[in-house]
Homo-oligomer: 261 residues x 2
Amino acid sequence: MTVESNSTEARAGSAMRSLSRAIQVFEQLQRYEHPQRLNQIAKDCGMSSPTTLRILRVLQDSGLVSQTDKNYRIGPAVLPAARVFLEADPLPRSARPILQQLAQNTGLTASLYTRLGFERVLVERVVGAASLGYELPQGRRLPLTVGAAGKILLAALDEEQLAEVISAAVELRYEPVGFTLEELRRRLPAAGEDYAYSEDERATGVVSVAVAVPSRNDGVTESIALTAPVHSSSRDDLVARVPELRHAARRLADLLASTVY
Amino acid sequence: MTVESNSTEARAGSAMRSLSRAIQVFEQLQRYEHPQRLNQIAKDCGMSSPTTLRILRVLQDSGLVSQTDKNYRIGPAVLPAARVFLEADPLPRSARPILQQLAQNTGLTASLYTRLGFERVLVERVVGAASLGYELPQGRRLPLTVGAAGKILLAALDEEQLAEVISAAVELRYEPVGFTLEELRRRLPAAGEDYAYSEDERATGVVSVAVAVPSRNDGVTESIALTAPVHSSSRDDLVARVPELRHAARRLADLLASTVY
DNA sequence: TATTTAATTTTACTGTATGAAATTCCACAA
DNA sequence: TTGTGGAATTTCATACAGTAAAATTAAATA
């Protein structure tokens, strides 16, 4: 039973056990719908109650966790951290004007996602003239296997990596048990295509295209998407925007690469 | 039980040293204007480079820290955490409609702050009809010693606690070296007053009143404020709103107390 | 009040975090 | 290109901090 299925991924040296466990607790708390009690958290993280309690206490001292009665949840200290990220990090900073321009030119909603573990996170979004009819808030975790902006992040992965993605997606309840590589492959962009398309996939009534933001370092971790209500845009309409998207992605990559501190 | 000397300092039992240090690194990264290199971070946190490096690596694995070249900064994983907090925590959730109503009735900007260590954080804000002429983003850290919403959080503290607040405020560069208890006392509400007032204090051109959100547990940690441009509201105008504020604070306290999971 | 379950503290043990020192890496200069 | 200094990283012996079992206390439930 390898219950060690933590999103912090057991790496080589298994360094900093207590810190890794604390992060595991912190992440677990984010997955709950409601605050949870000590024993539940301990069980879900696969560690003993005393250990979990001590971790929670330290996190609580810094405001990263808060407690009412016997229930623990994410605390207010995450708010300033996110603020710092949004104001200082080159990714959202650089993306803002670019998404702005995309939304302006296309009338569609322009979004920037980044990969985080086996999910993607909406980092920045500029809503276009054509409303989507629903709100997707900054910072929301979304699947990689569903939606154009997720799938394009998988385009460059090999078989082994995709297998990991699939088992994680099942674990996270994004995909049903038994979800196969073939099913996933069918959704992903065909060989040679540098963009992904989705229709009624992650959200119903919504179509979108996405391209990857090039990065010379490790694999692709960011994507830019254009999204529209399904009744207002055809597939061809969206695909016609791909060159524009490509250009935006390239511009963002250049900006990121040239950021000097 | 005395308030911990410093959220990042070694406490009585000195429990979880590595975790405490990791949090210290995480907080330090939030204080930098720009990404910093390993040795700088290590020095600022008062620990060795190898230790700091190991901590940074673990934080990086979870996305709480990111790195470009040799520079470390806060990573994108804080975004989903903040999202969870804003969507699930009873504090912002309960406050939203109450602030909404306050802003509606008064035409002013209504804000909810929570104390975090020796600072306060803007948790939720509803902008009123009368614009303030500046933006204050959710999650920003602000001083306790300046501004109505900060000062009201200090109203119930004793001499010893105020001394701590002062030395922390100096440490954080919110107050000049040599800032005295008498100077602070002069700003704080007089005995018997349950509200604080500020004019051109934290932000110029802005006046505000604030009341504390009652809490039966430990000391007060939340405050609600009404803010207006200085040219549009007199002190009396604002103080006339105090009963309304009191009512809102009471309502919020009741909501929080009755929240069931 | 009795009974059960969860939270917390204690304790003895074990493994992990630690920093000095050594080594490698890297930027810049010669 | 090679040399040089500073920074990052790895190694490693040691001390100490984190661990879980068991005990204790508190809090639900009947």
